[in-house]
């Protein structure tokens, strides 16, 4: 032992000593080295987003060495024969050069684009995981907001980057943005002029998007990621409900060595998968689109997936709603989608505060909800996902119509109807499904698991034998919070305020239909008259009477 330590205090030991005397690294290592993180596949979604971002910075830096953000016109003279001699911007020409004339350029462009798609996708899925498990509850509400901002910044990074090659497709995307901006009352045309440096498309916008894309937006993302992770350290990670997991502890594996290896290795896995996809699947073949020109456009234009829902909102807006006030025009075909999507985003950001306003539960929550155990929240989430999904599908109405040989008009009208009733159906179905799953859990707790073994009793009755679940499984099924709706009560002045009434009404929406976790009394009653491995018939009746 002594020998090895002495040996190590050669280079490694000296370095460690050098750093500790200057940076107190020993204290940092002592504090974080054995920090416990819980294990679950869904906790990796945020990691995927983080690693995708690192890959974006790495591949993006490579691209900046060759890309030139200028809209000055040149005649193309690169390797791609079909465009030889064509007039185009330097931005487009340098993007073509990256693709065709620089070794490793195409693979880096593809890695960058695929990583961007994955970044927003992973961030979105991570958000859904946090939402459906209630991980946004106290003390993590603010971190939800930070995460929300990260998602929005991800979309901003994607859009600013998407426009940089200055190809026909991205130019049309900018044109659409220009049209939307111009529609904003009072300030629209001025903002458009400021954004494009004059009339659309101008000669400025690519350089401006470039500085946003490589400086401002990534800097904000890095700061937000720092805050996001710092809060994870302050709060410690949540864990799923299960035996031994409480709001007072965190159960999992230590950072060193397990998570150093697992999470470190996972970075390489994410990078490897992105590299493999980028090597084999083409993304954004800008050479097929040609340089930007305001006159032509190709049919079936599609934005990157994360902008799709906004494009879909534009398509689904009904026509003929324009308002004229004192001769001033408010183009509702633009304003309705704009306002609707902003309201949707605002609701997403505000959800933790809305739910807490209803429950007024001020305790810290570190044990995650199984989605079924909060049916209304899960149903609201499903409704939101459906709303987003219909808008997203709305961006593909033309492709749906052509691929399935349907009338474009009918597809669009169907989407408009679906946008309204889809979330309602999703809400209802999800809520019922959650309640049913909870009932199934109750059955399992009270009467055990169905074994599929049918037994005939002496008096001729057939029954299925139930097997009790073990205590670890059982604990998972009963360990969840139970909320009850509240009646609107007068305050100290004897008045029932509107806020109180509203809260009472919303609390009824949330908690009127609920399946309470099995209580000790119920459990003992169910197990009083027979051995654990017994039959289900009698207790079933009892359970009904309890509920009634």
């Amino acid at each position: 032992m002594t020998n090895t330590t002495e040996k190590k205090s050669g280079f490694v030991g000296n370095t460690a000593n050098y750093l500790d005397e200057r940076l107190s690294v020993a204290g940092v290592l002592k504090g974080f080295g054995r920090k416990v993180f819980p294990d679950h596949w869904s906790f990796m979604l945020g990691e995927v987003a983080l690693y995708s971002f690192v890959i974006l910075v790495l591949s993006g830096t490579f691209l900046t060495f060759f890309y030139q953000p200028s809209m000055a016109e040149v005649h193309y003279d690169g390797s791609y024969a079909p465009l030889k001699g064509a007039q185009m911007s330097i931005a487009y020409a340098s993007s073509l050069d990256i693709s065709f004339d620089i070794r490793g350029g195409l693979i880096m462009r593809q890695v960058h684009h695929w990583a961007a798609l994955l970044f927003v996708a992973a961030a979105g899925l991570h958000m859904l995981r946090v939402f459906f498990t209630g991980a946004f509850r106290k003390p993590r509400e603010l971190n939800w907001v930070v995460g929300f901002l990260l998602f929005v910044m991800g979309m901003a990074a994607g859009f600013t980057g998407y426009s940089l090659p200055d190809d026909l497709l991205s130019g049309n995307g900018l044109r659409i943005i220009d049209g939307m901006i111009k529609g904003i009352p009072l300030i629209g045309p001025a903002i458009s002029s400021g954004f494009f440096g004059g009339e659309f498309p101008g000669t400025e916008v690519v350089a401006r998007l470039y500085s946003l894309h490589i400086m401002i937006v990534p800097a904000l993302i890095i700061v937000l990621i720092g805050v996001h992770l710092m809060m994870v350290i302050i709060h410690k990670h949540t864990h799923y409900s299960g035996p031994g997991r409480t709001d007072d502890n965190v159960v999992g594996y230590p950072l060193a060595p397990v998570y150093v290896a697992k999470a470190g290795g996972f970075f390489f896995l994410v990078f490897g998968v992105i590299a493999a996809i980028s090597a084999t699947f083409t993304i954004n073949p800008i050479w097929n689109y040609g340089p930007y020109d305001p006159s032509p456009v190709s049919a079936g234009t599609q934005p990157d997936w994360y902008i799709g829902w906004l494009d879909g909102a534009l398509r689904l807006a009904p026509s003929g709603w324009d308002i004229s006030v004192f001769g001033f025009v408010i183009p509702m075909g633009v304003m309705v989608p704009l306002v609707v999507s902003l309201v949707f985003l605002a609701l997403v950001a505000a959800y933790p505060f809305i739910e807490n306003w209803v429950t007024k539960d001020k305790r810290e929550h570190h044990v995650l909800d199984r989605p079924r155990n909060n049916p209304t929240r899960t149903a609201i989430g499903a409704a939101g996902v459906t709303f987003y999904g219909v808008l997203w599908a709305g961006a593909s109405t033309d492709l749906i119509a052509t691929n399935f040989q349907m009338s474009l008009n009918q597809v669009l009208v169907a989407m408009q109807i679906l946008l309204i009733i889809g979330p309602v159906i999703a809400y209802w179905v999800t809520k019922r499904a959650c309640l049913s799953l909870q009932r199934k859990d109750r059955e399992m707790v009270l009467h055990g698991r169905e074994t599929g073994r049918i037994v005939r009793l002496p008096h001729g009755e057939f029954i299925e034998v139930h097997e009790p679940v073990d205590e670890y499984e059982l604990w998972k099924l009963v360990d969840y919070k139970n909320y009850e709706p509240i009646l609107a009560r007068p305050d100290e002045n004897g008045k029932i305020t509107i806020g109180n009434r509203l809260r009472s009404a919303v609390s009824r929406i949330y908690f009127e239909d609920r399946i309470a976790p099995v209580s000790k009394a119920e459990y003992e009653l169910a197990h009083a008259d027979h051995a654990p491995a017994a039959v289900s018939e009698k207790p079933k009746k009892k359970q009904k009477s309890i509920k009634a």
Partner: protein, 339 residues
């Protein structure tokens, strides 16, 4: 929660007594590598092999870089370059990734451990001390006491960012009248996009479509795209009896030849698709559909205004010319477009 920590209100939560006691963390399941040195050795070799594969991947990527130099006009070299560098990189990354994860899963301890949490809230003592510091700092600076300083500072803080906003004033010129006007003037010839060749009325057969730009645009050195983004026109000849023309605009067309702005009144995409037998113009971006035979009124989709019509005529040589600029603003609606 332990005693020292604050117990918060549960709100609407009603705790129910749990049917059983928390049984605690499940017992550790012993892995093969825990109990058999042979299995541990195998795992060790597997991990080393994965790291070895990673090295191989890096070599493949480097080989790909040198093996496929760029050859002008030969796209297969580019493709092979990207393919082999990409696959090599993927292999080298996946080798490390799988190796590290396999290491963690087979050879590192997998007993779950528990660590206590602490409430985010600081202890009462800390809070009192923090408050003390705030009070002390307030007293020492006189922040609350010296109202004049405080208020004038608020004023300064409110005003100092204003230059930072104004300084961006030259991001773009004042909009002025540019959105209402295009390059079209009385007598401007209609020419083909992108060649700029003038179009004779006799060249436009029934059912044919011309993508049109104003004469002179294709030779422009500056602001070409800006002008094109406003002036692009779609020229179609239909059977005059199919046209339902506004009597006031009857002379805006020429023997069934009509010219409409190509810029969608929704958000500005080019309305590039023409369906001959229905006379419908379709915007491929958001599917706004305009009825060409009926003053390009919106028949479907999110657009709200008809496409503006360009009044045309024929000059002495038989070429199509504009009678004037568009009388309505082209492209997306904006708030003061009618002023």
């Amino acid at each position: 929660m332990s005693d020292i920590e604050k117990s918060y209100s549960p709100g609407l939560a009603k705790d129910i007594q749990k049917p059983i006691k928390d049984p605690g963390i499940e017992p550790h399941r012993v892995r093969m590598t825990d109990k058999s040195e042979k299995h541990a050795k195998t795992a060790e070799k597997q991990i080393a092999a994965m790291f070895g594969v990673s090295v191989l991947g890096a070599i493949i990527a480097v080989w790909g870089f040198f093996a496929f130099p760029i050859i002008d006009g030969d796209l297969s070299a580019t493709r092979n370059n990207a393919l082999w560098m990409g696959l090599g990189m993927a292999l080298s990354m996946l080798g490390i990734g799988f190796g590290a994860v396999h290491w963690a899963k087979t050879l590192m301890p997998d007993n779950e451990v528990s660590e206590m949490r602490h409430q985010a809230r600081s202890s009462d003592e800390t809070r009192a001390q923090a408050l003390e510091i705030v009070k002390l700092a307030d007293g020492e600076s006189g922040f609350t006491r010296r109202k004049l300083i405080r208020r004038s500072m608020y004023g300064a803080i409110a005003f100092f960012p204003i230059p930072a906003i104004i300084i961006f004033g030259d991001l773009g010129p004042v909009v002025g009248d540019t959105l209402r006007h295009t390059m079209w003037k009385p007598g401007t010839r209609l020419t083909k996009d992108p060649t700029g060749i003038p179009i004779k009325a006799s060249d436009v057969t029934i059912g044919s479509v011309f993508h049109v730009i104003p004469e002179g645009l294709s030779e422009m050195e500056e602001h070409k795209l800006e002008e094109k983004a406003k002036a692009a026109v779609l020229l179609v000849r239909v059977n005059p009896s199919d046209l339902n023309e506004d009597p006031a605009k009857a002379d805006w067309s020429y023997q069934g030849i009509v010219a409409y702005s190509k810029i969608c009144t929704h958000v500005g995409c080019p309305v590039a698709l023409y369906e001959q037998h229905t006379h419908h113009l379709l915007c491929p971006c958001h599917q706004s559909t305009f009825d060409l035979a009926n003053h390009c009124e919106v028949v479907f989709g999110p657009a709200s205004r008809p496409l503006p019509q360009l009044p045309i005529a024929v000059d002495a040589e038989g070429y199509l010319i504009a009678q004037s600029d568009f009388l309505d603003p082209v492209g997306p609606s904006f708030w003061d477009m009618r002023k």
